[in-house]
Symmetry: C2
Subunit: 376 residues, 2 copies
């Protein structure tokens, strides 16, 4: 549909990249002419293998990618700590705080506290990458910080482009120097981990910084993009395409829990908050009694670092989600979900292929609108 260099490079019709934890969304977007990217971090290596085998079957050779999270900085890095060593660094006061929050919402804390895994500590990233490389993936993305050397080397060896998400021009410069093939410049309005600078500013800032170094690494725009007109605006500014995530959460294919979908459809763009209260690093999510318990809410507590906060919180948040699905009111008040400010524009459940079709139509209409603002 569009004829850009990026489309040629990736063998796609439309430079719309769709991040999703759900294989059905990944396959639907790829089959509709975009590029699906499976968020792999929550899977075990065996599960990931099964998911990718399913996608291989569903897309019949069309291109898709995987996204891993291997952060550069985390609590205990380089100390060879076991999970229980890390667990010992979670103060009792924080455990109590979470228990009190649950009780205040009519949820009895579990007698034997389970802690989440420290997958964000980078120990499992390499295994997941190895599994992905046994499938015909056409992109490897790293969602947090500079990709580790082994990821960049594995990509170069096999001719698979490596992408990295950045929230500031300084990070883009570092990533390009590290040999990344595609930069996703993501604004503060994005769901999940995000920086402070808006998409409208960080995209041209990154493009300008790279150009001044003579670096022509393509840059995708990310953060808040849920329509074709926003994507068109970003391409007008020099982006090679768009990287999206939130918009797929309310598609028919997504496995988003019904109470979460309901919250998202009702939410305005002001119903999200950037808070470190879930993983220890600032991430954008739906406002709820959970996010209100942590800074930056007034009287909110300072979260622990990465991965301690997520080890403490993830099992509890999953339990909250289960209870919320069952109609538990306290749990529904606590339930949250990573989503960007674009949630304010997500007002209807649609099939993923329909979202791609609407993106394309809206993109073309936006290009015509801009052209027609010029004389003659």
């Amino acid at each position: 549909m569009t004829s850009t260099a990026l489309c040629e490079q990736f063998g796609i019709d439309f430079p719309l990249f769709a991040f999703s934890h759900c294989r059905d969304v990944v396959a639907a977007v790829t089959n509709a002419g975009g590029f699906g990217v499976l968020g792999a971090t929550a899977y075990s290596p065996d599960q990931l293998d099964q998911e990718l085998a399913w996608i291989d079957e569903a897309v019949g050779g069309k291109p898709y990618g995987v996204d891993l999270i291997v952060p550069a900085k985390f609590e205990g890095k380089g100390e060879k700590l076991s999970g229980s060593d890390l667990a010992g660094r979670i103060p009792q006061a924080y455990r109590d705080l979470v228990d009190d929050l649950l009780r205040a919402h009519d949820i009895e804390p579990e007698p034997n506290r389970r802690l989440g895994g420290s997958s964000l500590s980078g120990n499992t990233g390499r295994e997941l990458l190895d599994v992905a490389l046994t499938h015909p993936v056409k992109l490897i993305a790293n969602a947090l910080g500079v990709p580790p050397d082994y990821m960049i080397e594995a990509g170069k060896e096999r001719g698979i482009p490596v992408a990295a998400l950045v929230g500031a021009k300084e990070h883009a410069i570092k990533q390009a120097a590290a040999g990344v093939d595609l930069i996703v410049a993501q604004g503060t309005e994005a769901g999940g981990h995000c920086g402070e600078v808006s998409t409208l500013v960080v995209v041209p800032e990154v493009l300008e910084a790279l150009a001044s170094l003579g670096d022509n690494t393509p840059v995708l725009a990310a953060g808040g993009i849920v329509t074709g007109r926003q994507m068109a605006g970003m391409v007008a500014m020099g982006a090679a395409g768009a990287w999206t995530g939130s918009v797929w959460l309310t598609t028919e294919e997504a496995e988003t829990a019904p109470h979460t979908v309901a919250k998202m459809l009702a939410a305005s763009s002001r119903d999200t908050v950037r808070s470190a209260g879930r993983t220890g690093k600032p991430s954008r999510q739906l406002v709820s009694d959970w996010t209100n318990a942590w800074a930056p809410a007034k009287e909110g507590h300072q979260p622990l670092g990465l991965p301690l906060q997520s080890m403490l919180c993830e099992p509890v948040i999953r339990r909250i989600d289960v209870l919320a699905s069952q109609g538990h009111e306290g749990a529904q008040a606590l339930a949250t979900y990573f989503v960007g400010q674009g949630v304010g524009l997500m007002n209807k459940v649609k099939p993923a292929r329909e979202v791609v079709r609407e993106f394309i139509e809206d993109y073309v209409a936006a290009a015509e609108r801009l052209s027609s603002s010029l004389p003659g």
Copy 2:
């Protein structure tokens, strides 16, 4: 240069609106084919009269506007309080806090504390409007909240469009219902008072909300826009043009103090913060030891409300600026200034007419870039 309905309505060549406190910038932008808007709030009625007379002479009939700040909510509203009544509501602890901050930066607090005026309380807004109406202004803008009835009525009587700045779709709906002629949808990346939602999200959200009500009030995009490519992106998304402010602060004509210009040219987009520590309402400004003394910095103090915080702080900030201009290091560390995240893209002092020319060129190039992404 562009042929939009808005250009016809306002008698301009290019739908670029430039907010500035400096008459020279206003005249230069208007004379270059854009639309200059003088920020009038800091002037006394007599001063404003002189400034507008100067502009009338400089633009020879070309269109320009004025911007007032008349907020809907403020401390003491409707209570008919005098300045000294309001002053009594500033706690001693806050006075001490400011004095301690000064001493920590080698500045001795003045023995007799001066407090700023409560112009933000709305008492002087009407007088300034009356003065503006004796000049051939072609736009009256209200920067904070729904314009008071007398402003909208005065505009309707004289056929002068009234504009209002909004940071959320709910506010846009209210403003349109109140009879505003032009809506400026401003993102969180903007300098000065701003909301939480990014420009990329709030602009389409406002457009969609108005369209769903059958309301076709034109919407300008604002917040972070310092280049023609960003403006083009916003027009592609459906905006009627751009409202800008920060980019004019580093023009040759601006009266920005040299130490502030130096800070801005060196700043990246991450060197601003949205804080209520200056006026009592969240506003974006350069990070400094002053902004770090107030929330949302860790350990930052909760600011007072509007206008108490600005009554307490403005005289001190002006004194800091004077000392900073004289090279006082402590004052330079404290000095701050309202500016948006676009400051990261402002790297050179230029004449205002040159900024307009570059905007136009960059806008046209962006439109061509987007067109060329479509096939054939």
